[in-house]
Symmetry: C2
Subunit: 116 residues, 2 copies
DNA sequence: CATAATATGTCGTCGTGCGACATATCGTGC
DNA sequence: GCACGATATGTCGCACGACGACATATTATG
């Protein structure tokens, strides 16, 4: 019962990408905000560089896991920011990766947990 | 209460390395056997190439997470195999990585689990 | 006695995280 | 009015690691 068997080849995700996707679950956000969200979500352990961030965003867009739309801060003047939003595929990827991680932890605990 | 705070910088482990370390928990083994063990442990999802295997073994030795000793198959003739064994550091690394993964899953489930 | 499985190793390529660098806007305090 | 930090986006080159391809040799099996 593997929903969308074509998503398996994309796993495992890197820690950076998984945190970025998770940060988009509550709703759309933009690059810099995701950077800060990931820092909070990971309790300060994952500090994305902008190189990692924008490189990963580009790939996620190409793969169709997220979608982008342009937003104007104010009326039509001023800074232009880009908002990113999870696609259906993106949500399925997150679920698949979390399931994979749970299985991995189970294997590890079974082997390494209950013994000297 | 982070035992050995100096191990944190080594995380996250790659999937290949974590599975390789887990395969050594029950006891010493050699390269090719680890290759097959990982395949079984991962239920066929992780198929290490020998490039990955021996490259990773070299690094694990250099880092002192495993130790190597030479074994002679028979008396003193025939194929020479190398056995690898987890060190104390190696065991702590596994525990630290499993703990990290559990925390990661918890964050993911909290964000992505309990909502539409 | 050929063929598969076991066993170890190297090499080149590709993907990805990351630090450094480059720009520009916005808010706050002085 | 203006300096300065936070916000915001992006590029470039390096380093590390997984991987497939290739190379070899020994040990079982049919």
């Amino acid at each position: 019962m593997l929903a969308s068997p074509d998503i398996q080849p994309h796993l495992p995700l890197t820690e950076a990408v998984l945190f970025m996707l998770i940060s988009l679950v509550p709703g759309p956000s933009h690059g810099y905000a995701m950077l800060k969200d990931v820092e909070v979500l990971s309790e300060g352990r994952v500090l994305l560089s902008t190189g990692t961030l924008y490189g990963a965003l580009k790939r996620l867009l190409e793969q169709g896991w997220i979608a982008r739309y342009v937003e104007h801060d104010q009326a039509e003047r001023g800074r232009v920011t880009h908002s990113y939003e999870l696609t259906g595929i993106g949500r399925r990827i997150i679920q698949a990766e979390l399931a994979r991680l749970e299985a991995l932890v189970a294997v590890g605990r079974r082997a390494a947990g209950e013994r000297a």
